[in-house]
């Protein structure tokens, strides 16, 4: 049975390395298999997992081709292999992340009653329900929408167009796309949210910015919670010097200036999204590891852990099958609250020009429009509002999830 699980995995790995050899994706794929292996222990979920994983790889390959072949901006602007490589790596990671998330939802989907129960608890938070809807839209636009939309194109003639229903003094845009009424340029549906100084449509920029934000938030968070769960649960269960060593390492890592590491790497290799994601993912798990550890410490004292050991289960088995599932609600909550921090950090780095300047990140667009605030206020404001709403939505979602999943932390109800 184990051989049967391994062979499709090896198959995808082979096709992947033939395609370009992505060690990070491969690693995530391994995580995938492990979680599926432990998930039901049955055969049909494994089959399903194999199918989904293979499918997601097909999708990844397709998107790889699409980006490399069908995106002239990136090719023209940078041309070099290195940049194409970067974009591919992030996309690969993103696909792997999404498939891991999909697998994580499998046990939930199997248990309708539990989902209904959590939904009833979650539903009590109106802002959180709205936030969820908003985030789903952002997520779908950013992931699926960007596959079908044209990236924002340079069009100097269409610079500084105001958003639809709004107008601006006709002297500000180079050329008004819409009608000019009483010396004021009216916004048009061609650029519903206006355009930048380059004449790029802000709606398209915002949508492509969603993808960047989702990639940063989801991939780095998944890396973080994977490491944090492994470290936290191991520390709690093993105790003694292992616990001490791991947690003191977390202390040291928490003092480490991630910002300067990124600055250094951005200086050496140029600010790439891939480096940013990996750095945030690999260095940002300390806090979550502490949460997981403290939760896992309580769970390790439960009799069912002793019962599993008394039934002959090994240490790693107990951690993976009994401790981790019981701290998963804390992990989910911590992850949800970790995402907005990362999105904000990426926006901040892009704002000060340390990100990948060719990526339509929200922070980048905000920075680009800050000189024109007096004349074309919408250039910075539109991506700023999206950023604001997204951060707020994730925070609402995180708080509502915490209340729904962990009744002990419920306050004032």
């Amino acid at each position: 049975m184990i051989g049967a699980e391994d062979s499709p995995g090896t198959g995808t790995d082979d096709s992947e390395s033939a395609d370009g050899g992505e060690p990070p994706s491969e690693r995530f794929e391994d995580v995938d298999w492990a979680s599926i292996d432990a998930d039901g222990g049955g055969r049909s979920p494994l089959r399903l997992a194999a199918l989904v994983a293979a499918g997601s790889y097909g999708l990844a390959v397709a998107s790889d081709r699409l980006v490399a072949g069908g995106d002239p901006t990136i090719d023209v602007a940078f041309g070099g292999v290195a940049f194409v490589w970067d974009a591919t790596a992030v996309d690969w990671l993103f696909v792997a992340t999404l498939s891991v998330l999909a697998f994580a939802l499998v046990p939930l989907a199997r248990n309708r009653r539990l989902v209904a129960y959590y939904w009833r608890r979650f539903r009590r938070h109106r802002p959180a329900v709205l936030s969820l809807a908003y985030l789903l839209v952002i997520f779908l636009l950013g992931t699926v929408g960007t596959l079908f939309l044209d990236p924002p194109a340079l069009d100097v003639a269409a610079a500084y167009q105001p958003p639809v229903f709004l107008s601006v003094d006709a002297s500000i845009p180079t050329e008004c796309v819409g009608p000019v009424v009483e010396g004021r340029c009216q916004g048009t549906w061609r650029y519903p949210l206006g355009t930048t100084a380059d004449g790029k449509g802000l709606l398209a920029l915002a949508i492509f910015g969603m993808r960047v934000s989702m990639q940063v938030g989801l991939i780095a968070t998944l890396i973080s919670i994977t490491i944090a769960t492994a470290v936290g649960a191991t520390a709690a269960y093993a105790g003694g010097w292992i616990d001490e060593a791991l947690m003191r390492y977390v202390d040291i890592q928490q003092t480490f200036p991630t910002f300067f590491l990124f600055l250094f790497l951005a200086y050496l290799y140029g600010g790439s999204l891939f480096v940013l994601i990996v750095i945030f993912g690999v260095t940002g798990w300390g806090g979550i590891a502490r949460i997981v550890r403290s939760e896992a410490l309580q769970r390790s004292e439960e009799t069912y852990v002793a019962a599993a050991r008394s039934a002959g289960a090994s240490g790693p088995f107990v951690v993976w099958r009994h401790v981790v599932p019981n701290v998963s609600n804390s992990i989910v909550t911590a992850a949800t609250l970790n995402i907005p921090v990362l999105i904000l950090s990426e926006a901040a780095l892009s704002f000060i020009g340390l990100g990948n300047v060719t990526l339509p990140s929200w922070g980048q667009t905000i920075a680009a429009g800050r000189g024109d605030l007096a004349t074309a206020w919408w250039v910075s404001t539109v991506p700023g509002l999206f950023l604001f709403a997204t951060i707020l939505a994730f925070n609402f979602l995180g708080n509502a999830l915490r209340d729904a999943l962990d009744p002990r932390q419920e306050v004032g109800r």
Partner: protein, 373 residues
């Protein structure tokens, strides 16, 4: 100590001089301080004592379930089926746990993982030791649930622990313990968290399982009513040491150690006092802190019969009681008590005759029996 050859060879489980310590911030606590007992196939041995007497630690030390650190088995042997589990490797222990020695814990609500269905956990217990297919394992799980008296097991198998009553949960926990078809079942206060009617059902279940499969049962309890009902032999523990050991008949009919007598007196509704009334206040005092010095008899500060000799040396060795000749002759099964009054220089009558009303053993047995549920 020397091996009593007959006992060690015949017994399923032979525990000798087992010592378990915990290194805590407040100092080192010797929770189990040199206990010895034997258990045969198909036999029920009860570890009895008040809270904090080390019963649970002793039971969990058998397969080294205690957390290490801070716990540590300092010395002693746990010979199970020819192997010494006290020095066995972790891998060897894992092979024994569940498959040969299984545990049932006190609180079934906490012994079942809330995030998994009953069936999932039973399947896990089955598949940990047997490489069987999921379908076969499920069939066996349903069979196990049927065996422990769960009605409609094919439906209940998909229930989550919180959907079952406490008694049902404990039945599931017992089914999980039986999944590996163990030779020895260690049940740590399996009925304490259950209400009285369910308690007797669970005890009947354990009895019937034992008579059907002939496994050895080590029952940890503080409930003397339970002991009287199911035990073959009794090990009375106090502060980590064995105070008295013998067949249930001997211990209940002729309780010898002052502590055992105080325990039996503590059963409500008994009309016979085994301990002088004036001394019972003393026996009611809290047990001394386990970090106290370990010289002399552990029970002496609460004992109505304490003499100077009780302060000397370590806990007195287990001396044969006057009725030892009536029970099995070999060392492991004899009726013994760790009290100086039963030693070569002591006079058992100091303890046994101290309460004049307790003149005959049969009345004591009757009242113990009267406490049965």
């Amino acid at each position: 100590m020397t091996d009593p050859p007959a006992a060690s060879r015949d017994s399923l489980l032979h525990v000798e001089d087992l010592r378990t310590r915990f290194h805590t911030d407040a100092g080192t606590v010797t929770a189990v301080d040199g206990i010895s007992f034997d258990l045969d196939d198909g036999e029920t041995v009860c570890l009895v004592g008040e809270s904090g007497s080390g019963k649970t630690v002793a039971a969990e030390s058998l397969t080294r379930l205690i957390d290490d650190p801070p716990g540590e088995i300092v010395s002693g042997t746990v010979r199970f089926d020819g192997r010494d589990l006290a020095t066995a490797s972790e891998a060897e222990l894992r092979a024994v746990r569940g498959d040969r020695i299984a545990h049932v814990f006190q609180n079934p609500q906490r012994a079942l993982n809330p995030v998994y269905s009953v069936g999932w956990q039973l399947l896990e217990a089955i598949q940990l030791h047997d490489d069987v297919s999921k379908a076969d394992a499920r069939a066996r799980a349903i069979d196990l649930l049927d065996r422990v008296g769960i009605p409609d097991p094919a439906t209940r198998i998909d229930d989550y622990p919180h959907e079952l009553s406490g008694g049902m949960q404990q039945r599931v926990a017992i089914a999980m313990a039986l999944a590996g078809e163990p030779d020895l079942l260690v049940a740590d206060e399996p009925t304490t968290a259950l209400d009285v009617t369910i308690q007797s059902q669970v005890l009947r279940l354990l009895e019937s399982i034992q008579s059907a499969s002939g496994l050895g049962l080590l029952l940890v309890t503080h409930d003397l009513g339970v002991v009287a009902e199911v035990a073959d032999r009794v090990v009375v523990m106090y502060d980590g040491t064995v105070m008295e050991r013998g067949s249930v008949h001997d211990v209940f009919e002729r309780p010898s150690h002052p502590y055992t007598r105080a325990l039996l007196d503590a059963i409500p509704g008994r009309d016979v006092d085994l301990t002088p009334t004036a001394a019972r206040d003393v026996a009611d005092r809290d047990p001394s802190s386990a970090t106290d010095s370990t010289t002399g008899c552990r029970f002496r500060s609460r004992c109505p019969h304490a003499v100077d000799a009780c302060r000397e040396g370590n806990q007195p060795p287990l001396h044969p009681t006057p009725d030892a000749t009536t029970s099995a002759p070999d060392g492991a099964r004899a009726h013994v008590a760790a009290c100086v009054h039963f030693g070569p220089d002591g006079d058992p009558d100091v303890v046994v005759d101290s309460a004049k009303s307790a003149d005959s053993g049969s009345s004591a047995d009757e009242s113990a029996g009267g406490d049965r549920r």
